[in-house]
């Protein structure tokens, strides 16, 4: 993640931008046989849908195909609000109607199962083959099912959901919370870095606590963490003491937080310190890039996809861009906002490459709101640029809600969290 580039490497990187430009010139000449430059986007989440929309918005002459198996995409952001009973699944469902009708994107309801980089072709589950001049892969995450003994996709779909891809998993965990008796124990297992949405497990604990406090006040939440510290930690801990005293217990990796095994039948998890029983067990398993990225050789030994940070073009396969949680984007966290920022930068770069021009140096942004209770919000912001160290956060910018923020400010942040959601989903799917 933090591979340092030497000055020579940095210059080489910029040179590759120019080489990419030359490639674009030849690519453009080749695709002159096709009526339009064709971009295929795999994955209709925050990264892929944003890339598809902005490709068409910035250059309506492009032919853009978006491949996504789900008719409705449920967003991970705000899925914790559903778990806490503050939103419904309908509130977090996004569709592709506007991308089709207003932006003229060819949305194909299918799964990509193979990429032939030599033939510039994507094979779909239905057998259909889609040709591209440039390909964007935005596959999100997959789980390392073997990292925890006893855990599997089948266990996640029955007894111990991960609920870290929104949809059926969110509904399952929500049902389990509703069915749990008062005085029950909710165990949340949080993974080590890097993983999707670093504040996600802690917002989840907060909003489950908000539900339990009102409905099942004798219950407890135990977070077993594979890390020693976590995102917005001081702000979360302060909020928990104030809002839910004694209800949420967090254990770090050196104090029995790291789980090595689960027993789905017994509803237990095993840590270095012993066995813990849970009435509801949420295993947010360790993660890697989405399956298609693995299958097509876009990942490196880390399990994520290395990319040129100017264009998000894969360093493994030219002509294929990888964005969102699956790619290695330096200092940026894996978040929906970051993915959409990658998508827009990749879209602008691809248009420049088609024109045979040099892409502009990237500018990337992230903002993540977390809700601790209705009217109690916190945020982290970051502005990122390219340097000799790769993508870095700009010193002196970004940062957290101040720890001494008063109730009024925390209420404002909670209001802005909703405003943020309304606008980002409109900016991507609307």
């Amino acid at each position: 993640m933090s591979n340092k580039l030497s000055r020579r490497d940095f210059n080489k990187l910029l040179l590759s931008g120019v080489a990419g430009s030359a490639f674009g010139v030849f690519g453009g000449a080749r695709s002159a046989f096709a009526a339009k430059n064709r971009v295929v986007v795999i994955g209709g989440g925050f990264g892929g849908a944003a890339a598809a929309k902005y490709l068409k918005k910035l250059d309506p002459t492009l032919s853009v195909t978006l491949i996504e198996p789900k008719e409705t995409f449920y967003t991970c952001p705000f899925s914790n609000w559903v778990l806490g009973g503050l939103k419904t699944m309908q509130d977090i469902g996004q569709t592709y109607t506007v991308l089709k009708s207003r932006y003229g994107i060819d949305v194909v309801l299918d799964s990509a199962v193979g990429i032939d980089a030599a033939k510039n072709a994507v094979t779909l589950k239905s057998g259909r083959v889609v040709k591209y001049d440039r390909l964007i892969v935005s596959p999100g995450i997959d789980f390392k099912w073997k990292a925890i003994e006893g855990y599997s996709q089948a266990v996640s779909e029955t007894r111990m959901p991960h609920a870290y891809q929104a949809g059926a998993q969110t509904i399952l965990l929500h049902k389990q919370l509703l069915a749990m008796p008062d005085g029950g124990r909710v165990v949340i297992s949080a993974p080590g870095n890097p993983f999707r949405c670093p504040p996600g497990p802690y917002e989840r604990a907060s909003l489950i606590a908000n539900y339990l406090k009102k409905n099942k006040p004798k219950s407890k939440i135990i977070i077993l963490d594979a890390k020693e510290k976590f995102s917005k930690q001081a702000l979360f801990k302060k909020g928990w003491e104030k809002l839910y005293p004694g209800m949420i217990e967090w254990r770090g990796s050196t104090t029995g937080g790291k789980i090595t095994m689960v027993d789905a039948a017994a509803m237990t998890v095993t840590t270095d310190f012993g066995v813990e029983k849970g009435d509801v067990i949420n295993i947010i398993a360790p993660q890697q890039a989405g399956k298609i990225a693995f299958d097509c050789g876009l990942t490196d030994a880390s399990g994520w996809c290395p990319v040129n940070p100017i264009t998000f073009e894969s360093t493994m396969h030219p002509g294929i861009h990888v964005i969102g949680d699956a790619c290695i984007a330096g200092a940026m966290p894996k978040s929906g906002f970051a993915a959409s920022s990658h998508g827009k930068v990749a879209a602008a770069s691809i248009i420049r490459l088609f024109q045979g021009k040099v892409p502009a140096p990237p500018s990337l942004v992230n903002t993540c709101y977390s809700l601790l209770a209705p009217g109690y919000g916190i945020s982290v912001a970051g502005v990122y640029k390219l340097s000799a160290e790769g993508i870095i956060e700009i010193p002196g910018s970004g940062g957290l809600t101040p720890l001494d923020a008063d109730d009024e400010k925390l209420a404002e942040e909670a209001t802005f969290a909703q405003g943020w959601y309304n606008n980002i989903v409109q900016d991507i799917w609307g």
Binding site: R352, P361, I394, S397, G398, I424, Q426
Partner: protein, 138 residues
């Protein structure tokens, strides 16, 4: 892309502006490539960018700097949530607001944290882009 479309419609002044802009596209990578210092490259590039941006309104750099704004403020700055819209605001208005968020003169929860991530030159580019491009695609 926008400029090429505009060029077909516009007069010789636009042609001159486009030439200037194309020069930037050629000069910047050369500066980036052959500059001996890592971060001085950024500064050198910025110095080239500014006068061009004032001439033509929006640059590829201005575009890349501005694309993230819409995530919170809505596409083209047309907000559907509680965040303020910047659609229809002038470049001058946006530039002043961003500079005041950056200095802390204007109250914000998160905007000041974002504004501190941009140099005054970059804020100028963002204001030029956000204050003009949305209007053209109205």
């Amino acid at each position: 892309m926008l400029f090429i479309i505009t060029l077909n419609k516009e007069d010789n002044i636009m042609r001159a502006k486009l030439r200037l802009w194309l020069t930037f596209c050629v000069v910047t990578p050369v500066l980036l490539l052959f500059s001996n210092t890592g971060m001085a490259e950024q500064a050198a590039a910025t110095k080239v960018v500014k006068p061009v941006s004032k001439a033509v309104g929006a640059t590829p750099r201005g575009q890349v700097l501005s694309l993230s704004c819409s995530s919170c403020h809505g596409t083209d700055g047309k907000s559907v949530g509680i965040m303020p819209s910047f659609y229809g605001k002038t470049p001058q208005y946006i530039e002043t607001a961003l500079l005041e968020f950056k200095s802390g003169k204007r109250y914000s929860t998160v905007m000041g944290r974002h504004a501190k991530g941009y140099s005054d030159d970059e804020i100028h580019l963002i204001a030029q882009y956000c204050g003009t491009v949305g209007h053209k695609t109205k």
